[in-house]
Symmetry: C2
Subunit: 327 residues, 2 copies
């Protein structure tokens, strides 16, 4: 059985959507066992499923609690879920609570894979060809060494290969030019490490303008630049959609056009909505740690659960251990 | 008279558009004098204007020449234009040649303002409210110190105040969070320097997702992150426009809608087109150095000339000297 702990309480939309997601999930995953943490009276509906265990947790880490609140909120659904991973009861943990708090509790309570200096945050980004790419680190670290960037690359590569089923994932380094000598010392050195490695398929530097082209499966970046790139993507996409809407509404012809084109535009918005991607992965820990988006609906949350399940089933952590031990 | 040198040869579209731009410019700027460098037989049309001097230059720095080509191509229109600024014949220089080569020739041949450790590249970015904001450095440097970021902020502030006429430009620092303690040591220190300064109006950190909001007039960033942010903007905008087009073309209703909405979408594209902004400024030199876009038409090129003219007329360099001497 593949065992996961599920934090039912920390999302913006409360426990109801998590309960629904657990029901959806357990019906289609017969080799999975869930430990759901939260106020037991809100989780009663799940008690009829033999593979779901309800773990009563009276406290909640709120979205606006400081990240360090996880130190004292030991009775919270989030910390209890993480502790079950720490204690080896489960191999994966899923939460849709505050990213900062969840990441901090993973850092505080979970072991890192041996040889990994820094854990990091990975997100799936939409690409032009619709296949998406994985970018890491998108902000867990304010700065990284070349060796850490190399570790991120290995982790992203193993993820793309095993979870996304890509035979030979194309790994690129986010930099300010494509030539090997571009960027600061750290990025030049990272380029060398990646270039020399026979444990992944490095295709060179990628500039900001090409990350969404679909030509790369994994984009490796230091946490500072990665965070800037991720948030700039979000900002531009949001601004542009808003401008398109207004620009079309400013003339009668445009308005009529917008009306007719609405469903096309809407489906596009979905495709480009970072929220629909279903979450971020916290990489480098001995357990699968998946952050579902705070505003996840039941479908999105169960997608995040499925991701954690796949990570456990494919033993991605074990493969990362192996990949990273042979540096 | 305000004197500018104009490189007529290095753009993608040849000298004809520069000749046209010079004619447009000189008719509306009676206190300006131009020194136009290039093959004199291509510039003949300009010889009838008393305030235009033709400076014969037989060589051309091509777009795909290495940046160091400016060292040997002393007879090129680009280097000759820069040398006229070096020799004090003009106070500003405009080119639409290769950004790298033009920036390198400024670094090689022009003095930096005293006290400025690093020159940098500044671009105007479109914002949601249509007013735009200035971002610097967008890639001249691969890394920067906190003190250099402070210099960039002062330069951006003085530019926004004098050239854009903003009473109290709002200066923000691009970072991975809004709190003062966010980011690496350099950015934390830069925050302190900016916060303590009474020579500009610092409004705090800005994240990637908010740079285009219109809430900031100047966004200060190290060259690495700034380059990533700029190019990510370009990439997302381009990808999104392409996806919108295809998504609309995939259904009959969408197609009809697109047809009707075409002019709205087109005007939006213009607004968001980094090419139409008219160029980048190379900041930190004792002369006004303006890079017009390589594919500039006559109107865009004459906008770039006007920018250089305004920089000279308002003595922006002089004000930067003053602002930077009082750190």
């Amino acid at each position: 059985m593949y065992k996961l702990s599920i934090d039912a309480m920390s999302g913006d939309l409360g426990s109801a959507i998590v309960v629904e997601a657990c029901e959806m999930f357990i019906k289609s995953h017969h080799d999975a066992e869930l430990y759901v943490t939260g106020k037991k009276e809100e989780l009663e509906k799940l008690s009829s499923y033999p593979h779901i265990h309800i773990v009563d947790a009276r406290d909640i880490v709120k979205m606006d609690d400081g990240i360090m609140s996880v130190r004292r909120k030991k009775e919270s659904s989030m910390v209890k879920a993480v502790m079950m991973a720490r204690e080896g009861i489960v191999d994966g943990v899923v939460s849709c609570g505050s990213t900062g708090a969840f990441y901090t509790s993973a850092m505080l309570f979970l072991k890192r894979i041996e040889g990994v200096e820094k854990s990091c945050l990975m997100v799936m980004m939409p690409t032009y060809n619709g296949k998406g790419m994985a970018m890491l680190d998108v902000g867990a670290n304010a700065e990284n060494t070349a060796e850490q960037l190399y570790d991120f690359a290995i982790m992203g590569y193993i993820y793309a290969k095993n979870i996304r089923g890509i035979q030979q994932p194309r790994v690129a380094l986010l930099n300010i030019g494509t030539e090997s000598k571009k960027g600061d010392e750290t990025h030049q050195k990272a380029y060398q490490l990646l270039q020399q490695s026979d444990r992944l398929h490095f295709v060179g530097n990628v500039e900001g303008r090409d990350i969404l082209s679909g030509d790369y499966d994994v984009v490796v970046t230091d946490g500072f630049s990665g965070n800037i790139a991720l948030k700039t993507c979000e900002g531009v996409a949001g601004t542009l959609m808003k401008m398109i809407k207004e620009s079309m509404m400013s003339s009668f012809k445009g308005k009529l056009g917008a009306l007719l084109a609405k469903s096309s535009l809407y489906s596009l918005k979905e495709k480009f909505d970072y929220k629909s991607v279903g979450g971020a992965l916290m990489m480098g820990f001995e357990k699968a740690v998946v952050k579902a988006h705070g505003a996840s609906d039941a479908k999105a949350f169960s997608n995040a659960m499925d991701l954690a399940y796949q990570m456990v089933k494919m033993d991605v952590v074990g493969q990362m251990k192996e990949g990273l031990s042979q540096k």
